[in-house]
Amino acid sequence: MSFVECRALERTYTRGDNTITPLRALDLEIEQGTFLALMGPSGSGKTTLLNLLAGIDRPSSGELRIDGQEITTLSRAALARWRSVAVGYVFQLYHLVPVLTAYENVELPLLLHDLSRKERHRRTALTLELVGLADRHDHYPRQLSGGQEQRVAIARALVTDPQLILADEPTGDLDAEAAKGIMTLLAALHRDLGKTLVMVTHDPKTATFADLTLHLEKGRLVSPATVGADAPAEGGA
């Protein structure tokens, strides 16, 4: 059994009289420990797939099993609990809470778990050290660079030790140097911690860090799996 299994996964929206189907009958399996890049033009269904994998959106039909758990049948509250344990999500625009320090932002997901203050502190400090921000505990997001903010966001995604990390254009708002630093960090975390990492990107260079790149177009997979470094070059759409 694969770590992620999608069977005939479909997502349809209705806007007035129009029906939009960003994801059509998708079949996909992802093995545990894979670093997968999802590429494709805008509107191809990349982010929709990522949202479904994160359990923040529900498919219109099909099955979605992650680590043996069918998540399409979970209630809203159960899905929230599942997310707090099983998924770490990295956003393009970081989405840190501006009134909390770097330390507090990273600690935030741990407050959903029954951990002692001491244990929370240990995990938070360790994770911030892991992303190279051990000296930025008390800094607020506005006091950090874009690259540092994204590192805090990555630490927040990792701190609960989820098996699945999802990243939506994690370098999309960064300059080239910061983007390279973030991708190097994600690749190292994937390699050292063995997490399953699914990343949406427009940037072929960013996709080269992945083990596998899949292309989506009009809600369907259009290319076979390719190993990261050999991924075809593509213009960002």
């Binding site: 923040i56 929230a80 997310r83 999500y89 809470v97 959903l112």
Partner: protein, 389 residues
């Protein structure tokens, strides 16, 4: 349900100081208005309740139960009652029976002033001081008959809208075309008497050219007399045309008479509070809408919408509680004891625990009611929609 840290709610108040100031100011204004209205209602009710002595009975002319000023009794009524009715309290043989004339006259500082304020003038005998134990002469003496002298209540200056020195002992007041010298000042805290002018019964009868009384007030000896005895006496003595009421009942009637005024005042405060709610809704909507992505992110992390709602309410309550506390502090400092004129006299606004609790409650309710609609609206959106906002 795991809640967001309380610090999150507290720190969110500092995000937009202007918005927070508007929110706190709005809550403060509404709480202050509610406090003012509640202080008015409490003050009025207390003044009417305190004015009644439990053992006192008022004898009025038949058919004029609602108004002492309209009541007319034969002058001999007091003597007949004192001589005929058993169960009246006595001290050294003197019965607690007070014949009184109550008239509302325009009072001015000088003879040349055209218009003054209508004020209750009470013509009394020395027996009045027996049946009104709440009254205490704090300065000067009682008026001497035939000298056009008056005793004034502590709140008279407020009632007349004059500085206290204008009604001080030794000064002259004018009513019914004659000068009256202030020879004493009395205190009857919390009662309607506190804003009255008292003079000798016969002097007032002379100037008002009446030979009747407005009422006779008597105090029963609880061990010997009952209201029913007095009512039976009034029913039997048809020649006197009397109606007997417990003093508490009389003031309860007045209290009921003024109920529409109190309702109107509370209604006005309520309508203003409603305006505050609408303003608060706008402020809260703007504050929350700008954080849609952040609230979506918290849901992605695993926080339930209920936990986020609690945090938003906490945030609103902190701001509104601060505003309401400021209002209560100001209200206590500025309004407590402040005199308000009304047709019966004047009474002091009362800012007591219940009034403060009402104002605080209004401020907090405003916080909750003003938060729920925008919070529900924001949190009802699907997470991807919130993240795209």
């Amino acid at each position: 349900m795991k809640l967001l840290p309380f610090e999150y709610a507290v720190r969110n108040l500092g995000r937009n100081p202007l918005r927070t100031a508007l929110s706190v100011g709005g809550a403060s204004l509404v709480a202050f208005l509610v406090l003012g209205a509640a202080a008015f209602v409490t003050g009025m009710r207390q003044s009417l309740a305190v004015s009644a002595s439990p053992d006192n009975v008022i004898l009025l002319g038949t058919g004029s139960e609602e108004s002492i000023e309209r009541s007319q009794l034969a002058f001999r009524s007091a003597a007949v009652v004192a001589a005929s009715l058993r169960g009246i309290r006595r001290r050294l043989g003197v019965p607690y029976v007070s014949p009184e004339v109550h008239v509302a006259l325009s009072v001015t500082r000088t003879a040349s002033e055209q218009s003054g304020r209508l004020t209750v003038i009470r013509g009394v005998t020395s027996a009045a001081f027996l049946v009104h134990p709440a009254l205490e002469i704090v300065q000067g003496r009682v008026p001497v008959q035939g000298q056009n002298e008056v005793l004034v209540g502590e709140r008279l200056a407020d009632k007349l809208g004059l500085p206290p020195e204008d009604v001080a002992v030794g000064r002259t007041l004018h009513f019914d075309g004659q000068p009256w010298t202030v020879v004493g000042r009395f205190s009857a805290p919390g009662t309607v008497m506190n804003a009255e002018i008292w003079t000798a019964l016969t002097d007032l009868q002379v100037v008002t050219q009446r030979d009747t009384l407005s009422c006779v007030i008597l105090t029963l000896d609880p061990a010997q007399g009952e209201l029913a005895d007095v009512q039976a006496f009034a029913a039997q003595r048809l020649d006197l045309e009397l109606t007997a009421l417990a003093e508490a009942e009389y003031y309860a009637g007045l209290d009921a008479f003024y109920r529409p005024v109190r309702i109107l005042i509370m209604l006005t405060a309520g309508l203003i509070a409603l305006g505050g709610v609408l303003g608060g809704l706008n402020i809260a909507h703007a504050a929350f809408a700008s954080r849609a992505r952040e609230l979506g992110t918290l849901q992605v992390l695993g926080y339930l919408r209920g936990a986020i709602l609690v945090s938003l309410i906490q945030e609103s309550l902190i701001g509104h509680a601060a505003g309401a506390l400021v209002a209560c502090g100001l209200g206590y400092a500025l309004l407590d004891g402040l005199s308000v004129r009304f047709s019966m006299g004047a009474f002091g606004l009362v800012v007591d625990g219940a009034v403060v609790a009402t104002a605080l409650g209004a401020g907090l309710l405003l916080g909750v009611v003003g938060t729920l609609p925008p919070a529900f609206r924001l949190l009802s959106a699907e997470i991807p929609e919130s993240l795209r906002a």
